[in-house]
Symmetry: C2
Subunit: 361 residues, 2 copies
């Protein structure tokens, strides 16, 4: 019996999500290099091997070390390279095929001074998200980086890497597809412009919403979605998946009921969910509540939503029709708003089949 907040993982749903994306990538003949920051687990990672995945993405050197120790031989760290970690990067590059991402001359020069092993190197390009990377239309700055990379012995230029994270701020499938198309156009134009000097430029593209909604990966050499393996309430809200595709749910015990406010208190707080929210009809929601039967949750029925989170408490707003059926001591299934952050907090999965799976600590 589950007694505490527990992160449930439905392996069948997860496998179906992986298979769907792997099949799409294969059809378009692009390399499928899934991002493992979502599950951060050697065992969940091993499930991808069934779908011929051999190349992966991570978001930190620490994660790269963990997956390299667990047998992965081709890893891209899709995060601006941290020059302070050059020594670990160098060690990794001596044993696996390691790719890094750069976006400044300072980083290139510093790494080139220190590294003794070759690392594949992407230039991070920004196609409109505005978080990191060089504006994909700023050819001058990109040429300056390329010029610097040309002088390097150990930083081996591969191509342009982009994360179109602005797909998360959209309201329709059309907008998401438009962002992918616009990113593709920018990156292909850039590639064409540089083709004389660099004929073998690769384009690496990633984000779950557009890779989920589009079937057209033409122009990309690889895709790097990550969240799709689990999905979450945010992705369902955006339209990247159905509620039923979500492969994880937090089982949380009901500890108090407040009928006068239509509120249920669960043990399930910011230390279980982190604090990402979706805005539904102007109201912030930190997760949706569904019935739980043993370790299986029922997405066909929504009982309420988390309206507030403190460290250990979750407050669920619940309409009267469901409220009266819920008892203290019941377990509810909460679909997390952001499954990556939830998994990162819990550090352990309980599969619906009754197994426990560890992850990177």
């Amino acid at each position: 019996m589950l007694t505490q907040p527990t992160l449930l993982l439905n392996k069948a749903k997860c496998l179906a999500n992986i298979e769907r994306m792997a099949t799409k990538a294969k059809k378009t003949n692009v390399l499928f290099r899934p991002h493992f920051k979502t599950h951060q687990s050697a065992e969940v990672g091993s499930w991808f091997r069934e779908y011929e995945v051999e190349c992966i993405t991570v978001s930190s050197v620490k994660m790269a070390v963990y997956f390299a120790e667990n047998g992965w031989k081709d890893i891209t760290i899709a995060f601006p390279a941290n020059i302070r970690e050059w020594s670990t990067i160098n060690d990794l590059a001596s044993t696996i095929n390691l790719n890094i991402v750069v976006e400044s001359i300072d980083t290139i020069q510093s790494l080139e001074r220190n590294l003794t092993n070759p690392v594949g190197t992407y230039i991070k390009t920004d196609t409109g998200y505005g978080r990191t990377g060089i504006n994909a239309e700023d050819y001058e700055s990109i040429q300056a980086l390329l010029k610097e990379l040309k002088t390097c012995k150990n930083l081996i230029f591969i191509g342009f890497l982009c994360h179109a994270g602005h797909t998360y701020n959209t309201n329709s499938k059309e907008e998401i597809i438009n962002i992918m198309d616009s990113s593709r156009q920018q990156l292909l134009a850039l590639k064409t412009f540089m083709a004389n000097d660099f004929p073998l430029i690769q384009i690496s593209y990633g984000d779950t919403p557009s890779c989920s909604l589009s079937d057209n990966f033409e122009g990309f050499d690889e895709i790097r979605p990550g969240n799709f393996a689990f999905y979450d309430a945010m992705q369902a809200h955006i339209g990247s998946c159905n509620l039923n595709d979500i492969a994880v749910a937090m089982a949380c015990p009901v500890v108090a009921k407040h009928p006068e406010r239509g509120e249920i208190v669960i043990h399930g707080g910011a230390v279980h969910f982190s604090k990402d929210q979706i805005i539904n009809d102007g109201t912030p929601q930190y997760g949706t509540a569904h019935p739980l039967n043993d370790r299986n949750w029922d997405t066909s029925k929504q009982l309420g939503y988390i309206s507030k989170l403190s460290q250990e408490h979750g407050i669920i707003k619940m309409p009267q029709e469901h409220f009266s059926n819920i008892n203290i001591g019941d377990m509810l299934a909460i679909l997390p708003v952001h499954s990556c952050l939830t998994a990162n907090l819990i550090k352990k999965y309980a599969t619906t089949e009754g197994e426990y799976i560890n992850m990177l600590i």
Copy 2:
């Protein structure tokens, strides 16, 4: 040399914070029962023993087990008791003096049916926060709980417990003190009302803002602040502490610079800080950036603030005067908005003296 995001802990500042609160409690002759959910560390917990602390507060059964295993013999779990964990509660109650918190007849009846060892029992009362607990002015409901508790063999009624968390939504010291005064009045009136039947009622009060700003703990039998041991940018924003009292900071490496936006990218994201924010002049901030010299940070100078967080990235808005002095590879000190959630994510402290301290995993 620090290479990755690292949670720094200044022991001297932490000890000063503990001493200040312990001294105030002693002066007013109330029991100091600090909340250990902030640090979740056996070693940091042991520092409290120097100030004669023997009774502590935690927010989950798991945390109670951890601290009991580390020698603490008097623990209150200040969270509505989770009846599914009765067996662990019962085991704990056989070895230490354990107190729990209830707010419903269902919980009382369920635990009384199952427990074979006595547990001290508080009724959670709500003095205006509106999260959990029975409205402190709803004497009828409270009397119903007391009536139920009177029939119990193993749930031993101690008194009323209250967390005035609405002190976090204030704009002045005066408002915070008013909330404490109002809570005190409500709890004392309740105590007086019940005094005939229950002459020994204890009042347990907790929250860092009011316990930090007030010297008057009269009427309370014990105080349970927790965050004060570390404080954070939120507490400084509320006015509970000075920036210089904050005992923890995240050291984060600079990985990219975007002069056109006045933005610095650090390795330091939602997996390091969680996502609590303060609103400063209408702008959400997820932490403030300060110079870091080895392991010592300088709060006299603010370089910027975190304006956005994704899983591993932090985006720091930085004015031009500071921007040009920061180089890729520099380490910045970030004062977290919520030190409890930050510590819970990092699971390890690096003291300014160069030691490493573990915590509950």
